[in-house]
Symmetry: C2
């Protein structure tokens, strides 16, 4: 199969998904002698690690987005196609995009993952997650609208419900959200209201495992917990959410059930492979894990299909450590680069050793002067970690979009705790806080 590739006049590579995996695969193949078609539902790549800053009013969506067409405008072998892939035909080597059929020689599937609600799909509307720009705008609307509603509410109990924020999931996103909301309530907004004292807001972080940020060293988890507590966040570990209602969340801890009344429940838990995983399994017989991620071969291909690669959050790559690599940007990026390189080498009848993740370390931002950094050989907390986090993200943003001014603005906003991007927009934004008295005021809507 590999040897047949070089005989073709032009080798068609189709990449599904313009996240970190797909983007870096396409970059690795830009201006080479293959034809690349990059398919995405959206016209932009999203720098997801900073999405929580959109949700909490620090950045605008465009600040962390790069139009895919402009990324590849100078790469004439790369075609960007806007659309949603409905099916794949691995035998005929075709991808179905609505009525359109896109043939491929090599396929790279990089469609990522969604939040998992552990089978409780009704929770999704009540406790939205944070994967897309629209999710972030909706989360931002809920957070800021909750303060507005509290300001108008005279009943102290209802007011408390508006002033209580519950974040489910103690991974990086959950921790960063909790820290950012705490800073918002206790610092940014403290002078802004006349009837409420935003310092009375309650921010609760629920984590299933025995510590937050389980992917970093235990002592850093502990430091992160301390930092969150310092900011005013209540952290509950070993906690299993058993129910989510319109204005409450119930969790089990030490065999005890607790119900918190809250109008703003945010979801940052669980991982579920996107639907392309299921389609691939049906069409190729490849195995998926219980989260719907595709079990890939050591070279990131699908078993029996050396011309189909699965990378990023959708891939379960367990060959290196015996457990799946984490669903983080550096993994997706390195896998994309690996596959891009491998495709080129194969055309020259060469190959690469199996994929191996070069762990660059983990880090999480908790708040101003508060972060944790785990580089393995070096562990940082507090101010030093915070500076390190800033530098790393400035570096990534520059690499991502050489517009230095955007980076300066971002760093400036961040350092000055400016949260001017706190627009309440969308259909329900017009209704004012009286809207929150409706039956299901904070239900997920199509408003963006």
């Amino acid at each position: 199969m590999v040897t047949s590739l070089e005989k073709k006049p032009s080798h068609e590579v189709v990449i599904i998904g313009g996240g970190f995996g797909g983007l870096y695969a396409a970059k690795a193949l830009a201006n080479t002698n293959v034809n690349v078609t990059l398919i995405d539902k959206r016209n932009f790549h999203l720098f997801q690690p900073l999405l929580y800053q959109v949700a909490t009013g620090t950045l605008s969506p465009a600040d962390i987005s790069a139009p895919l067409r402009s990324v590849f405008s100078k790469s004439k072998n790369t075609k960007v196609l806007l659309g949603e892939v409905g099916n794949i035909d691995p035998k005929a080597r075709k991808v179905m995009l609505g009525d359109e059929i896109v043939p491929y020689d090599t396929l790279i599937v990089a469609t990522g993952a969604n939040h998992s609600y552990f089978g409780k799909d009704s929770w999704k509307e009540l406790a939205p997650g944070l994967k897309t720009v629209e999710d972030a705008i909706e989360m931002r609307r809920r957070i800021f609208m909750a303060f507005e509603a509290a300001e108008k509410e005279s009943d102290p109990e209802k007011r408390r419900a508006f002033m209580t924020f519950v974040i489910v999931g103690g991974g990086p996103t959950g921790v960063e959200l909790a820290g950012a909301i705490a800073e918002l309530a206790y610092q940014t907004l403290k002078e802004d209201f006349r009837n409420i004292d935003t310092q009375e807001a309650k921010i609760v972080l629920l984590q299933g495992g025995d510590r937050i940020l389980p992917h970093i060293a235990p002592e850093l988890s502990k430091a992160a917990t301390e930092s969150l507590k310092k900011l005013g966040v209540i952290v509950h570990t070993k906690t299993r959410v058993t129910n989510v209602e319109n204005d409450s969340v119930t969790f089990k801890r030490d065999n005890e059930l607790t119900e918190i009344t809250s109008k703003t429940i945010l979801w940052a838990a669980g991982v579920e492979g996107s639907s392309m995983g299921r389609i691939l399994a049906e069409r190729t017989g490849v195995e998926c894990d219980k989260s719907g991620r595709v079990m890939v071969e050591p070279d990131l291909t699908v078993k029996g299909y050396p011309n189909i690669f699965v990378i990023g959050d959708l891939a379960n790559f367990s060959h290196q450590t015996g457990k799946p690599l984490p669903g983080v940007a550096p993994v997706a990026k390195q896998q994309g680069e690996y596959v891009g390189k491998l495709i080129q080498l194969r055309l020259k009848n060469h190959t690469l050793p199996e994929f191996s993740y070069n762990d660059v370390g983990s880090l999480a931002m908790i708040g101003q002067n508060l972060a944790v950094v785990d580089l393995g050989f070096l562990k940082l907390t507090g101010f030093l970690a915070w500076v390190f986090w800033l530098i790393i993200h400035i570096y990534f943003l520059i690499e991502f979009d050489t517009k230095i001014v955007v980076v300066i603005q971002w760093a400036w906003n961040y350092i000055t705790r400016n949260r001017r991007s706190r627009l309440i927009t969308g259909k329900e934004a017009f209704l004012g806080p009286q809207a929150v008295n409706h039956h299901s005021p904070f239900q997920a809507t199509e408003t963006k």
Copy 2:
């Protein structure tokens, strides 16, 4: 009525609307001995003159917005209320906000104006206007989605419809939109597509009167027309739109009907006072002009109600020149400042001479190095006018937000023709361009 004011222990000023008029009235009254309640449907003030740059992908909504609460966080006599006023009771001096009743001693109505579709309400969905952030996001979606749809379309006629943009209205907004879309098609996007040549896009500006930008000197109108033509925009004056369909617009010119097939029709014509004008007319008997604007007294009050002011786009102030002052930001700003000052003087039993607009001049941006500036004593075109326009807007943005970095970013984006804020977002964004083959693909939706 006036003399009774000073006897009250605290004087309640209610301002409806946080646009330029309401904002500057509230600023004039900040930290004085009156109580101010500023009511707006939105939690932010919008710098509307730059909204067209959001619609065409240069700026993000937050770049031209200021959270009202943060503007007044240090002004403890000012309360911001999020909500929509449903009615006014001028006899009882009360404003109805949902179930809530807000009493006032002095009322300032600054709710602005909407686009007028000259009674053809069905056109509104087919040819959206540009007044809100949501409008701008929707317009941006339509513009960028049209190029995406053209890229996928194989039928040359249909493709042409996607590549044709019609802007109705030759005032500043229409001119600025036409210029920005021309720059987008002919410069920014020219390397981005593989199947279409964006240079083949057709941008048509339709103006009812005999020249565009009728509020500035005729020689500048002419210069602006030349600049637009240089950019590639087709300008039709003395043109009356007679019909708008899903994918066509028909107009009459020299008694001849012409139909243009276009998937993207944008509305920048007509002015219609917001609904508060009608409510005021019903409740106070005040006269409105045929555009629904309130005929105000020389001191901007409503006849018979010296404690009710109407300012900004909703006011028809014709005492100075015999015709209404234009609906532009400087008029609203000066009126807001005037009213703020007058209220304070009245409390000391003083008053002010009647309002008089200090015309600071008019300017319009057409494109890179192309603008027109009319200061009366000085008329500029081309590069000099463009630099002047930039400086003036930088000045206003600094005054507006003091976040110098935002201004640098904006100027940088503008000068480098960066249009990274070109996200297609909202419900329909997910569907990809195949969505445009639906029955009414570009209908206005709630997607933001």
